[in-house]
Structures are given as structure tokens and as C-alpha cells.
Subunit: 200 residues, 2 copies
DNA sequence: GGGTCAAACTTGACACTGTAAAGTAAGCGC
DNA sequence: GCGCTTACTTTACAGTGTCAAGTTTGACCC
């Protein structure tokens, strides 16, 4: 049994976390293409082959980064909700704002989390942090679930709408991605979001 | 003025199209990571540096592949709409079916089209084929646009919802991505889609 | 304390990638 | 025939992920 309270390891001292942090930094600075095993290693001050002892190759590192990313993502959602007014409708709007804001602030992380082969693999492996984000969604959706209905229905509707809007918005499909949310296409999405789970 | 009707070029005979086709094939066989300039060149029977004379590097090739992908995408949408019943609501459902089907059949292409740095660049450059897909969307949305309203509102709602659902569905967030659409979460999305553009 | 051993890390190598520069060949106008 | 632009090849180089060995380090046990 190791005695130290913090997880200092043999040589470097929790290299694993340092590599993830380096990866997040690279991601923010240069996007998904700048994320490289060797550059992470260099930034953490170790040799290029050191990461192999902590992750299963580049994909393993991306998985770990996605885990960290989900934590940040959950924090964005939670903060947005806690900061705004507490009407069910306002909380719904807040989670959407948090979703888009996270994408604006951390586009590279969003790519790792939701892009390509990322998501499915994460869900099946270390889906704890993603589950937390989903719990926030569930919590916000709950007031809109009709009595006796499966909450999954509203959740799928809300998630799909917000997710799709965020990606298209960030891709510039609805105008410049750095435009303010209020008064833009975001409001139109919220209008539809307000009709979620209501009887026809 | 060149005399040949088909665009046979000097040596290879329209290498450009051959490279794009090779790229699409690689994409279907091995996903986005299998798409490589050198492998495309090899498959087209030319040296690895030949593609540089037709595309601006790998990104240029991806752009051209995305253009081809948008043509296939539009065909999927159009076919789905033409095949099904012609009620406005049915046409709306059909375009969503075509969207998801395209993703199921050509996941790699969807990555190139909508993933990463793809979309924004395409829109700003050779957005002709993407415009065609958007025109189909517009056409299907038209009956749902309230008198005097800006059609962009409904279009943004519909596109966001379908796009988000497709990506999440293909990522396995709503169960196995090869499950039949009828009777699954897809129906729940369609339920919300039916409330598009209606007054509150 | 000293020995044992496994984990953490380094070194070196390999195949593969994109890209640039220089060389070669092929088609076209004249 | 002669130039000359275009299409393509050859060669080279800096990075990349990954594997197979070495080397160091720390922990544990007697």
C-alpha cells in the first residue's frame, strides 16, 4: 500500500495527469491536429515513448482527455444552470447556453469528446463523467416530461436539438460562431425547445 | 481548346476524379483515419506526390471529397423524399430518414463533410453541392413556415434537430446505430419535428 | 543494509505520414 | 522540327505512432 496521500509516482510524479493536461493545452492552442503523443510527452518533460506506459496509444490518450473534457463540460452546464434564473424553462435555456459556450471556448475538446470515434468508445469504457453530464440533462428535462412518460423521450429530443444546433452553429452554418446568442438563431432553437414533451 | 468530350488529361486521364473516388473508397473501407494522400495515389496508380498537382494538400483532397460527398448526400435526401408519401409531414420524415441512412451507409463521408474543420471551409469555397442539399431542406420545410415568417427559423430548427439526432444516434447514444428507425428513438424526434414552426 | 523485482522511463529503430524541391516526360501550339 | 506549359516521378526531410530493447528508480522483504 502506498503511503503518500497525493498520487506521486516513482519518477515524474503523476505523469498521467501531466500528459492529459498537456494534451488539453495543445488542443486549445492548435486544435485536434496539434494533439500529438510526442508533443504531449515533450511538454510534460519526458521522452516520446513515456506515454505508452500510461495510455493505450494515442487513442487511449484521447480517451483520457475526453474524460477530463467531460468534467469540464459538466461544469459548464452546471455553472450555466446555477447562474441563471430557476424557472424550468430558464434552466432549459441555460443548459443550452452552457453547451454552446463550452463549444465556443473549447472547440478542440468538443471534437475529442463528440467527434469521430470518440463518443461511443467513451460511453462503453469510462462513462462516469459523461453520465454526470447526462444526469444534468435529465434533471433539467424532468419538469417537461409528461406524467407517466419515459424521460428518455424528452431527453433525446432536447439533446439532439441542442447538440445539432451547437455543432452547426460552431461550424458557421448560422452565421459567425462568435456572435452573441441572444437575438440570433439560438432563440429560434429555444422556441422549439419550449414545445418539447407537450401533447400535440 | 481540348477536343475530347470527356475530360481525359495528358497522362493519366482525369486523375483528379480518380483520386477522389479512391479517397471515397478508402473512407468507406477504413474510416477517416484510412484516408491518406499516399494511399489515394497508390490506388489511382500514380506516385505519392502526384495529388499535389490537383489538390492543395490533404485538406484540399478532403474538400474535394466533401464536395463529392455532398452530391451523394443530396441524392440520399432526394431519393428518400421521392420514394415516400408526399404529405408535408411525410416528406419531413423522409428527409430525416435519408439523413440518418446516409450516415449509416457512409459514416466516413459524414465525418469528412461535417466533422472537424470540414464544413465551414466547404461552405466558404465550393458550396454549390451543399447548397443543393440545403435547397432540399428548404423545400421540405416550406409548408411548415408560418405565413410571413422567415423560413430560416424553421430550417434552423429542423436541421439542428435532425443533425444532432443523426450524430448522436450514429455514435450509439440511443442504442445500436444499426437498429431499425421505426419504433425507436427516431420516432420521438419526429414527434418534436411535427411541432416545428407552429405557434405556441 | 542489501538484494530482488517490478514499474517508470529512455533510447533506438521502423514504417508511415504530408510536403517541398528538383528532375523527367508528355502533350500542345507554332 | 522547337519551345513550353502541364503532369507526373524521384528524392529527400521532418514528424508521427508504435514496438523492442535497455536503464534507472523506488518499494518491498529478509
Amino acid at each position: 500500500m502506498t503511503k503518500q496521500t497525493d498520487k506521486k509516482k516513482h519518477h515524474h510524479g503523476n505523469l498521467r495527469e501531466a500528459l492529459i493536461t498537456a494534451g488539453v493545452e495543445l488542443l486549445e492552442e492548435g486544435g485536434i491536429d496539434a494533439l500529438t503523443l510526442r508533443k504531449c510527452a515533450q511538454r510534460a518533460g519526458v521522452s516520446h515513448a513515456a506515454p505508452a506506459h500510461h495510455f493505450d496509444g494515442l487513442q487511449g490518450l484521447k480517451l483520457a482527455i475526453a474524460e477530463r473534457g467531460f468534467q469540464m463540460f459538466s461544469k459548464y452546464l452546471r455553472d450555466a444552470i446555477d447562474t441563471g434564473p430557476q424557472t424550468p424553462h430558464d434552466r432549459m435555456r441555460s443548459i443550452a447556453v452552457g453547451y454552446v459556450r463550452f463549444g465556443q471556448d473549447h472547440a478542440g475538446l468538443l471534437d475529442v469528446i463528440f467527434g469521430g470515434h470518440g463518443l461511443a468508445a467513451i460511453v462503453n469504457e469510462g462513462g462516469r463523467d459523461e453520465a454526470e453530464a447526462y444526469l444534468i440533462l435529465r434533471e433539467v428535462c424532468a419538469p417537461f416530461v409528461p406524467e407517466g412518460d419515459n424521460p428518455l423521450v424528452v431527453e433525446a429530443q432536447v439533446w439532439s436539438l441542442i447538440h445539432g444546433f451547437t455543432l452547426l452553429f460552431l461550424a458557421g452554418e448560422f452565421g459567425p460562431p462568435d456572435q452573441p446568442l441572444d437575438g440570433g438563431p439560438f432563440d429560434q432553437i429555444m422556441a422549439l425547445l419550449a414545445r418539447v414533451g407537450t401533447p400535440p
